[in-house]
Symmetry: C3
């Protein structure tokens, strides 16, 4: 038996979609607990969903089932998949949503979910009719292999941009959080004195050591941003760059919204240069 089902979707909170998925899970496995990661993924934004799952993964209880439903292709031919991978499992549409959590995991075994007999299966709410039942079954100890035939490679989507030249690197803005802080693809970072170490989380990049005090950091054509440890190092209302809680570079404004103040948007270039 698995410990919990962690849910992520673009279903929002004004409809009963999430509650109905939980009802289906509880009907199959009454003792399982559920954790909502978020249900406010922008509708159809598979890439942000994939990124959020990557953020959450290191903190999930061992044995968790990730139930992720951002599914603009529902009702079309896209497959439904379940994946067992080390001490977690994933259930969702095969549209790339698990790309980042499965990166480099040679122990991942994926199946197409074909053997479920849902009553009155709809063509618009596979979250209720396919994914929640599959998650409930996995949580109750059923083996993924019983849900359908093996799939060699779940679909993968492009990674966030991160590229390097001799004296600069370029990433992209990913999304702004509730506080207006913009998370970027530049990372994974750690700092030791003046040495900023970058171990790219995006495949195909080599590690790098950078001189923290000599970096020029910019979002789009915006002003140069100081790299600080904490917001309190700059005056109220001033912009800054810092290593966020996922060890990616983030852009903030002390006691304000960087997204609003600096007019940041997803996909915008983030450049760092040094000399």
């Amino acid at each position: 038996m698995r410990s919990c089902v962690a849910l992520l979707s673009d279903f929002g909170s004004r409809d009963i979609y999430v509650g109905v998925m939980k009802s289906v899970i509880a009907s199959i496995h009454p003792q399982v607990s559920t954790i909502d990661l978020t249900h406010e993924i922008p509708p159809g934004d598979v890439r942000q969903a994939a990124f959020r799952l990557w953020q959450a993964l290191p903190f999930l209880p061992p044995g968790a089932v990730l139930l992720a439903v951002v599914d603009p292709g529902v009702g079309s031919g896209r497959r439904a998949v379940a994946v067992e991978c080390g001490d977690f499992a994933c259930v969702g549409p095969d549209n790339g949503i698990f790309t980042f959590v499965l990166e480099g995991r040679r122990d991942a075994r994926a199946v197409e979910i074909t053997h479920l007999k849902a009553r009155g299966r709809s063509s618009t709410f596979h979250g209720r009719d396919i994914f929640a039942p599959a998650a409930g079954l996995l949580a109750s100890g059923v083996d993924a292999a019983s849900l359908g035939p093996a799939v060699a490679h779940p679909l993968a989507i492009p990674w966030p941009r991160l590229s390097f030249s001799e004296k600069s690197l370029r990433g992209e803005a990913l999304y702004a959080d509730r506080f207006g802080n913009m998370v970027t693809s530049v990372g994974v970072l750690s700092r030791d004195g003046d040495t900023l170490r970058l171990e790219p989380w995006v495949p195909g990049c080599a590690p790098l050591e950078l001189p923290a005090s000599r970096l020029r950091i910019r979002a789009g054509a915006g002003p140069e941003l100081p790299l600080v440890h904490t917001f309190a190092e700059v005056p109220k209302g001033a912009a800054l760059a810092y290593i966020g809680s996922d060890r990616l570079l983030e852009i903030g404004v002390n006691l304000g919204s960087a997204a609003d103040t600096l007019k940041l948007s997803s996909g915008m270039d983030i450049t760092i240069s040094w000399s």
Copy 2:
């Protein structure tokens, strides 16, 4: 002991009303699990609440207690009721909120909740002071009869409109979901080739078989809508009609919002004609 308490209200998420109700339930029955259906019912919209409960009911775990608090008459003379009905129970204001889930249920036994001794009962938050304690007690195995005297007929509210003439039928738009899809009162539908079968969920209507390919479907005075199986059958941005996940007719726009694009609103006429 009952399996879970499923909650629905118009309390939203910015106040602590829902959390306090759950605290009261957990104080009475610490082991019970709770499922949030939604707390974003438009304030005071008993009819939408009643409809949402009808949607959720088939998927609830056996033994669930439905705790529903949309209660514009709180503090006035309206009764508080608890209903036991087959393998579920309901607790809430006697304002018609359970009309649709109790339709045709001859096994429903309702009581007025009068025997609860809440500390410092307020006249504005019966969710905390009456309904949550009653739900916690029912969940812990207490019989509804111990909560107060029997009630012959809980209040009923009007059903959504659905009417028929020789070569047409007319329903109404109910509400738009997060994605802008408009759910209508036309149903319950199932399709087999070109035969669209309608088994009315609204009392007093007879079943009907319609020629799917010859239907003319309109919302208000809007354009004719094609009846499709999945969104992907029409171009991006195009409007369509389809059988939704509750087997009611829904109106959508592929990768867009039908509510915005077609200026749909609740109560608008939905007409289907054939020849």
Copy 3:
């Protein structure tokens, strides 16, 4: 072992911050249940958070851990604290957030959380890296004393305003709830016939008995408000004052929003005079 963890924050619902905190708690103590009080505290509003905790406290299950994260000073020098107090415990930043729940509690024992060994502790998400682990440990039965050294006095913030003169009193508007009802600092009230009894919840005020029918109640320079028992006593759209569910004076509009109709805002003077 403690019964549950009750969470309150300003993290909102569009990010995964809350879900990650719950994942951390479940990793430490898989059996514990969690209750969301609210995560929609306005960003950085420690005072509203402190008030919401005071509202929730009487209804929490015995043994609850209050995990409260509204933390504009994260990453600065402010301490992290855990407090054991009678049958509840608190975990959060030492910024005054527990002022109201700890008022007059001589049995409160506070520690600074210094002994946690979080992997990769960030300087921006102590909710995940310090507070959630501490809450999970307390919930699993660990003694607060093992988390760090004793703290004599957690930081306290100013109480809401409430002052008296011979024939009047003056409080302040605190916040509007989802329905537009404005909660004020005037309380704690109870009514017996024409006698309105006020047992101030704000320290340093003496109890008072007031003539309910001869009170003149105003918000700012607005119109005089009738003191009623229930909304239904005034016409639709009319303004009123009433004893709210926390026994504080509230200002409402029958089937409308007092905040909008009367242009009420937090901090506005609430005056009551009599003769």
